[in-house]
Subunit: 716 residues, 2 copies
Amino acid sequence: MRETLHTALRKTAGAAPRISIERILHPRSLAVFGASDSKAKFGGRIIHHLVRHGFAGDIYPINLHRPEIVGRKAYPSIAAVPSAPDVAILAVPVSTLVQNLNEAAAAGVGCCVIISTGFAEAGDEGSSRQSELVEIAARTGMRIVGPNCMGIIVPHHHMTLCSSVVLETDKLRDGSIGLISQSGALMVSIFDRANDDGIGFRHCVSLGNQVDLEICDFIEYMAGDEQTSAICTYVEGLLDGPRFRRAAAACRAAGKPLFMVKTGRTEAGVRSARSHTASLAGSFESFAAICREEGVVLAQDPDDMVRAAHLLSLHRGCRAGGVAVLSTSGGGAGIASDRVTEIGLELATLTPETRERLGEILLPPQADNPVDLGGRKMPESTEIAGLATEILFGDARVGYGLGVLTSMPFFAVRSKLIGEAALASGKPCILVLTPGAAANTSRQILRDMGQFHVDRFEDALRVLSLIDTHLRLKEAALPAPIRPAGLPVAAPSPAAGSLTESEAKRMLAAYGLAVAREAVAETPDGAAQKAQEIGFPVVLKAVSRDIAHKSDVGAVSVGLASGEAVRKAAADMLVRLASSAPGARIEGFSIQEMVRGEAEVIIGVNNDPQFGPIVMVGLGGIAVEILHDVALAPAPLCMTRARAMIERLRSMPLLQGARGRPPLDIDAVADALVRLSWLAADLGPQLVDLEVNPLIVRKRGEGAVAVDGRGTIATT
Amino acid sequence: MRETLHTALRKTAGAAPRISIERILHPRSLAVFGASDSKAKFGGRIIHHLVRHGFAGDIYPINLHRPEIVGRKAYPSIAAVPSAPDVAILAVPVSTLVQNLNEAAAAGVGCCVIISTGFAEAGDEGSSRQSELVEIAARTGMRIVGPNCMGIIVPHHHMTLCSSVVLETDKLRDGSIGLISQSGALMVSIFDRANDDGIGFRHCVSLGNQVDLEICDFIEYMAGDEQTSAICTYVEGLLDGPRFRRAAAACRAAGKPLFMVKTGRTEAGVRSARSHTASLAGSFESFAAICREEGVVLAQDPDDMVRAAHLLSLHRGCRAGGVAVLSTSGGGAGIASDRVTEIGLELATLTPETRERLGEILLPPQADNPVDLGGRKMPESTEIAGLATEILFGDARVGYGLGVLTSMPFFAVRSKLIGEAALASGKPCILVLTPGAAANTSRQILRDMGQFHVDRFEDALRVLSLIDTHLRLKEAALPAPIRPAGLPVAAPSPAAGSLTESEAKRMLAAYGLAVAREAVAETPDGAAQKAQEIGFPVVLKAVSRDIAHKSDVGAVSVGLASGEAVRKAAADMLVRLASSAPGARIEGFSIQEMVRGEAEVIIGVNNDPQFGPIVMVGLGGIAVEILHDVALAPAPLCMTRARAMIERLRSMPLLQGARGRPPLDIDAVADALVRLSWLAADLGPQLVDLEVNPLIVRKRGEGAVAVDGRGTIATT
């Protein structure tokens, strides 16, 4: 909520920004508030790092008491600096921060990077303090990064605007990966780990509390920066959902992988549920659906995404495929193969030519994927290691290579040959070196040649999985959906509150969904009469906007075969509801045809506060309710996406005709999803949720019929 | 099959073993065939390692041409050695191996460890060569380890009977963990990795092709060895299932964790399925059920299990509990908390006292699990890191500690304080150091104090998960089940082949399962007559031992309300089956009462070739057939284990009464499982499979009724 307030303030009261993101990341001049000679102080470490790494622009140390800091002329205040610096960094006590900021704004500073803490992250008092920062940025147009951030590192510009001890290194490693992290400590830890892996960055930005510049400002910039090849982000909460979608789309359009570690995933289920859809389309699930749609790859671990970005940057033309496993021992090959399959990657099926060529150098059981180098035809020929790698990883069906190097004689020589062949394959390949110090020489050889390697199976598998996810999402990208012909021109405008079943079904019918024939009556006698018109057998339901789940309270009677049966069922129902749903207003009865079919599906839509309507599909019964086997995607949908959602369901084989069942009308389900999605898109923010449960699905070619519906319209 | 042959040979033709496992692992004297001065040769490296690491017994190099090797007197043949050595190691060409073995046997060698390759792993020729080794062992009583193994390492005995380069280290690290690996390359890689982690072993044994000594020989020994605290195993295939169960039980009885990495998991589903049960209770699933029953913890990665064994050995009294997360940054705490929950561990709920004590030093949002050390009340007090760790990890509800150290000022000092407090907690605690080289000083400090640490979140989580699994399986251990009263004294002795439904149900009824009332008729007219006796409505089924899944071919009609309806349905069915099940012999009709209930459950049993009858339970419909939501356990069962199986099902909430449904008779399902399990145990190897599908479950207290059954009896 705090964040929303800030966003609003920034948007409404904003003076024009003084400085571009490009200039913030490549400033000509820097001021350091609280500069010091002592590396025990934040401001001291920052200025030491700038000097050590050779920042080529002007550096203005600000210190009231000292004429010179680290050999540079110091100034008693920002006002005393000869010309307004592009960027200032403030690691000052929170008590003087606002004053310093106002001075910086007055002096014409383009952007302040605020390291200081004690704001929104520190409770209510800090939160009101944070509002003052928002106000300064909005009023003056001076940009702010932070507060509570760790600064910015731009290796190719020698700009180490950061106090972290990880900068106490001899050389900054330049690279093409952009890193944006809400957490400063993570940013520098990731930077340092990547440095050990031989991976460099183009820009590293820590965001902190995002009072002004937020993650999308930097994603947008990096999407447009020609030298950036991939973007990695760590996010706790997004400020602007639609902007994030646009920024992600820009990355995809520019051909740049966008990775994200998003925390707060497991709190997603906490929100109390208004309906099945609401409880299933909780916020993280919705966010994950948005990411899938926009090609954003969610990672569990920050270092994994950097490694995946690195390999994708090295091999930009690579394509999704199976994994080839090569090991120096049968045990390594066995473990890797099991795990490849278990995490959902595919073990590549080799072409006959590859198997034949492998068969020339390896014994028959080993001349296929996985390859066990232990099974050589001739004794101890080290060259075979490189040759087998070249043949295996070069197979046209192989997307990625996984080499498992357990302890072996001539470890270093063989590692070199395998590494060279892996690099030459032009595909993302990872070598796993499972021993400890015994493999250190090999590690150094591989590092020197630039062949990526890790110490553990799982590290390699997670990275390959991220790469595969990126490539498959890229292949699954679709153009914006086109509105189907024949939908209403004007969106419906239902009254606020719960919809009755009839109201919900009327809206669905208007959008072309098949709904069960229905008539409404006020009394048991009237119900019996309407049933004659529908034709027996019929279903009888109570009409009440106070009852969300009719079956649960006995508000549904099925298979009624005569007028008398309908009359009696209706009368009994009134008695029953008086105790099972006390206080519910019963507006009458709905009499419906009995729809028969082969399976029940639930489709629904839930309005995510950040991302708008999210459509859901799942099989009725335990699949949705207990096993949470559902698929989500943002509205509106095209048929291709709707079909892909259905295909993602684990229970999908039931619809396809598993175990001697007939294949069902999956296209009719997809069509219903598409129509529901457009209804939701047309209703926009007024729709809270809408659900068809069940949608009765018939055999292929025979359609699907909505027999119950419910929904909620927002009170504005 | 090969292995079974060897096992049989060994068992039937065996001379008494010459030497104990204890003596093989602690020999007084060693002979090295192919000994050499050159470290480029296997025999050269072995003798160098023995000398370097100070083996205190006699060493007899065998070399036809050299009088002295590495300063030791060499012998031209084993016959020339002055007294028979306890153990000989052979890394000789496969062409001379059998001769050397025979010479060793003649010389009275106790055990030969065979490094040479070219046996069963190398195809048919190697396989017949391997039979000769089996024969020598069986005939002479000389034991064999291998072939195709990497030898044995026993640090406390300074016995490095192994050619691997990982032994080129200054000091062997002694420890209390036993390691047994079918793969030699993995054994030495694990050994070397553990050495880097500061973890030592009591014995490391590589098994190779197991022509004589097999994994259970060593598990049994280590279970009884007082100095061994935990056992880690790498297994590709077990030779003797029942012996393995007994060995695992011995480990549990001795209070020793037994871990295993088992490959070949993903081939489990390949066996073509005879029935639901057969396809679900495939061999790896059966094996996993055995492991759960015996407390064996299955790991994905070999190093993980060694690390878990290490932590459990350090903290032998520790108990299962929640995870406490402590981090130096909010980002680290967030990632760790999400992942703890996602992998199925529990984030500990702290006691009010702990939260109060944390609140004295930390800001309110940080004074709970997870603890973010960034939220200190006072600025930059390093001591708080240790104090917060002590308070948090000391909480009575905390089972394990997870500390995430991202880059921070005063990294080394704080790491030391956190490490000391974690060690002092007496619980399994893992620190994750996410930066690269910037954390190296901290790594050294932690290594020196013996506090276990890793570089990556996932490494820590997998190890904690293994520890948690071990402790929970330990708590779930049950005594051998007691035969329920009232079961038949004599096991049934059905004829070989498929059972008809009636035959299956008669056996089930004899063991006390409730089965639907049933009558059998030969003709449609007879069926109509029997239906009158049962009472309408009835179910009509064709009787045929040629039809496994009756509904799939239209051999079932339900809800028949009159004699005429039964007659017509039976006549129609005959016509239908002529085309849907051509060639199936129809023996007649079964007429059954319509059993009504709230849910359908499948229970079954499948005879695993290694482990005997394995019982299965799952919910009918898509839960079992498509989502594979099943639970398995070896027969026979007690009620507690049967209930635990049902509780493991993901679809369990349906039985408990989710979403307004009535709670069902779970005890009746458990009782049916128990009775089925005893029937299976009594039938023994003659039973191939047996299945009740469905078992109709009624509301709590109202029972469960088997309405269909099928099974197969082995042809002997």
